[in-house]
Symmetry: C2
Subunit: 194 residues, 2 copies
DNA sequence: CCCATCTTGGACTGATCAGTTCAAGACGTG
DNA sequence: CACGTCTTGAACTGATCAGTCCAAGATGGG
């Protein structure tokens, strides 16, 4: 069983990402990763590096995947910023509703669980975590909002977006999650109408 | 050194709570708890039970302590619901700003980290977690808000309140945290003015 | 058909974990 | 002052952890 790589790197990375996402960094052992990816422990080390390195790759994968979706959702901000923010939230609501993917949010649970993470990983999480705000601020300004309001709304929307993962994991229903974003979307619509 | 208990139970429980709060359940070992409380491992077992039982006591302690503060903050809801919600958020903002206490929120990080927690503990966390919403709903209705709006705002405010812990842990500044709640408070004020 | 190369599986290491056990000894009671 | 009671500290157990190592064997080039 050798000579040529016997697994697909993308499939393995996805499996590892979902495993970290479902169980968190601390509660994911290398045996879990081995089981999830179908790779042997030594194959993981030789192909993907140690636990920290693999986790970093999964984090980047996660940030890129959903970052792209957020960008796509916000792309209509100039024409209809309210619809853009609604679409932004829908990315997260859809992810939470997707049974093929774990509850919660890999970034949020990682930032909440920092101590086991090595400082460099924790720093990287925070960095990726902060990407949403400038994205939103730019979109809101493109939609005609003042600089100050755009800044405040951007951080508010990013925060509410994160809260969805927490509330969803805590047992809130899809209706309750929609109510959470509804208040924000209404407030945004009113702020823009003025 | 025996014959009489040589430690103060409240002090020890506070120390254990802060240790769990700072490091989370998974990353808190019994040695950490022993060091934090000043109690020997066997004293912890005999006086406070095993790790799960101690964690439950700390959770209840946390929920009660901040639950009481939230209740006090909302007590003026009938006269001035906006001020009540502002005071509600101030409890969390003050907690985050308090250097004597860890960042984040014990409940939120526990609900995000569930897998290591035994199912019964996870259930208990969710239960305690859900206490804020009815508290807020009652307060908002007392302040003159319609049933439907009160329900939506209650879950929104509870979510934003939780997001503060996540965003604070992710490195947001106090100003940014104030902006997050500011949008919600403004929206609430407008909703009540109508 | 053979050999060098590289993946793979499983055994191994040392550290750390939660939880148990027990002798030592300090206290309060009589 | 003596004895029983209860806390305490430290050693111990078995399990699991991340990470390493190496022999077995499959592959592809010559």
């Amino acid at each position: 069983m050798a000579g040529k790589k016997q697994f697909d790197m993308d499939t393995a990375l996805d499996a590892a990402m979902i495993q970290f996402w479902r169980s968190g960094y601390a509660d994911t052992s290398l045996n879990d990763l081995s089981r999830a990816t179908g790779l042997n422990r030594s194959s993981i080390y030789s192909s993907l590096g140690d636990k920290d390195a693999l986790f970093l790759r999964c984090l980047d994968r996660y940030a890129t995947r959903y970052g792209d979706k957020f960008d796509a959702a916000l792309s209509c901000a100039a024409e209809d910023p309210v619809a853009a923010v609604r679409a932004f939230f829908d990315v997260t609501l859809g992810r939470i509703a997707d049974p093929a993917v774990p509850d919660g949010c890999l970034m949020a649970q990682s930032v909440m669980a920092s101590p086991t993470l090595s400082p460099s990983v924790a720093e990287h999480v925070k960095e990726l975590f902060g990407l949403q705000r400038p994205r939103l601020r730019t979109a809101l300004k493109a939609g005609g909002m003042s600089d100050e309001n755009a800044e405040d709304f951007a951080v508010h929307v990013a925060a509410v977006n994160q809260s969805l993962a927490v509330m969803g994991r805590a047992g809130s229903s899809p209706e309750q999650l929609r109510a959470i974003v509804g208040v924000t979307v209404d407030a945004l619509a009113r702020a823009l109408r003025r």
